[in-house]
């Protein structure tokens, strides 16, 4: 094992939103920072649904909204309950916005560049094999037969926590604790997108579809408009998918693209990219017992820090903010004499006090809610049947009560509906 002479204050593993932000903040505070990325360029292994909530990022990056690669501001929010060839949709439009669409490949790249501008050294094409320990403390990383040393290591390796598993800090991922996201990015001219979705030039649409979109597997579908493309994809709970799926997963996305309700949007587009990623689904089970060890902090997806709010995910802002807090925590630990376990405890404390952990606790039961068959299957069906009774008029017309009774007949009892409504309103 060859030890590299150059020593760093901090080594950050992974230049995704969490790692790049940690490196940015560390370098900005004057620490000698090494950012290691396994991809050829930062962002080349990044994938997400398509939307970022901006507020926390504005705390971190100066003029974020002016400089970052923002495609469109989400000003139209749609949630559709799909059943067969029909959908009942809630649409919310506002000129106010708190989120934007982008490619995570671009955003990660931008964030890593910000870190470099602050003086961090970014090495791409470097796959870290192990965390390096000296006298029981984390003090660097191992790449092939070489060791690079640092005072602290920030693990931002992402959802597949190979390094943390090797250290025995976490167990192997269980299919029931993660979801699988699969998406197609479909090229369309900006004007076409504007016309199809009723948007202005910089306006974006976020469209969540639930119900008959995932072959009865708990999950949902999403559509996001980018500048000159549309992201279309599905998210399914992996464990449930393994148990229930009866054809290839890509067909689910393809059927969505060809869905009678959606085909008109995509018929003139061509697929630019097909990508996939695992998503932390159950933070309470995924999160390591501690996010700090002697010389080590864990951030982003690796720490399970992703919020599933039922109708939306918050991943990028949570990841970035955890990286930001880890950097701040290192500054405090450094001031107290070094990155010992005792001194890094502050990271977990600061995280607990931030919106990150507060929100994760608040929505902790959502992932269990997602598995309720009635929610993603029965109710979309019920609502669309109800709507069809009211809207598809031939000779006779229905009264609301009549239509409702007809729609739920043999499907779900009134008492269940009331109980579910109560549960949803409490948990979401």
């Amino acid at each position: 094992m060859k030890h590299i002479e150059k020593r760093f204050d901090a080594i950050v593993v992974g230049a995704g939103p969490a790692g790049a932000t940690a490196a940015y903040q560390l370098a900005k505070m004057g620490y000698k920072t090494l950012l290691l990325e396994r991809g050829r360029t930062p962002g080349s292994k990044s994938m997400f649904g398509g939307r970022v909530y901006i507020r926390p990022l504005k705390d971190i990056y100066e003029d974020f909204e002016k400089k970052a690669p923002i495609h469109r501001w989400v000003k139209k929010e749609r949630i559709s309950l799909v059943y067969d060839e029909s959908a009942t949709t809630i649409e919310y439009t506002s000129n106010k916005t708190t989120s934007f669409t982008t490619y995570l490949t671009q955003l990660s790249h931008w964030m890593a560049n910000q870190a470099v501008e602050q003086g961090a050294i970014l090495l791409t094409e470097i796959r870290v094999d192990r965390l390096y320990k000296e006298d029981g403390r984390y003090r660097g990383v191992v790449v092939e037969d070489e060791v690079v040393k640092s005072d602290v290591v920030i693990d931002a390796e992402g959802i597949n926590r190979l390094l943390l598993e090797r250290e025995g800090i976490v167990e192997k991922l269980s299919p029931d604790h993660v979801a699988l996201g699969v998406k197609e990015v479909i090229k369309l001219e900006p004007d076409t997108i504007n016309n199809l979705f009723g948007l202005d030039n910089n306006e974006g649409l976020s469209w969540i579809l639930m119900g008959d979109v995932t072959d009865g597997i708990p999950g949902g579908a999403f559509i996001y408009t980018n500048r000159d493309s549309v992201s279309l994809g599905i998210v399914v709970l992996l464990g449930e998918a393994a148990r229930r799926i009866d054809r290839h997963i890509y067909i689910l996305v393809e059927e969505l693209r060809n869905h009678p309700l959606l085909y008109k949007y995509f018929k003139d587009g061509r697929i630019m990219e097909y990508s996939t990623h695992l998503i932390p689904e159950d933070p309470s089970r995924l999160m390591p017992k501690k996010l700090y060890y002697d010389g080590l902090m864990i951030v982003g997806d690796a720490a399970g820090l992703l919020l599933n709010q039922g109708y939306t995910y918050r991943g990028v802002d949570f990841a970035a903010y955890s990286g930001y807090i880890a950097a701040k925590a290192y500054e405090k630990a450094h001031g107290n004499g070094g990155a010992s376990e005792e001194n890094l405890k502050i990271y977990q404390k600061m995280l607990e006090e931030s919106f990150v952990m507060k929100m994760l606790r608040k929505f902790s039961s959502v992932s269990r809610l997602m598995k309720k068959e009635r929610l993603f299957s029965t109710y979309p069906q019920l609502i669309n049947l109800l709507a069809s009774k009211l809207m598809h008029i031939e000779y006779d017309s229905y009264k609301l009560k009549e239509a409702f009774d007809e729609a739920r007949k043999g499907r779900v009892g009134l008492i269940h509906i009331i109980k579910d409504l109560w549960e949803v309103s409490r948990k979401l």
Partner: protein
Amino acid sequence: MTTETEVKKRKISRIEDILNNDVWDVDYEPHIIVDYSKCRECEWKPCIRLCPAECYTMVGGEVLFSYEGCLECGTCRVICPEKAVKWEYPKSGRGIHFRFS
């Protein structure tokens, strides 16, 4: 409105054609090794349907894995009920290169 002819034109693309839009710098060594002897014991084989890149296929009644088109998501590693998948990321910047995700 979607016209009748357009309804007929709708079609599910082949996975090869969809994947063809992606970019890889394929490594000369596989980053994933599958122990086929364990696959033979496995009746369930969730990898066949769940690997989004269809890296796992059935050929002559046996699982065949090819790493070249891997999107590095980790699904196979997580769902394999037989722990037959030895899974690493590719080295030296090789593997999938996302651009628009």
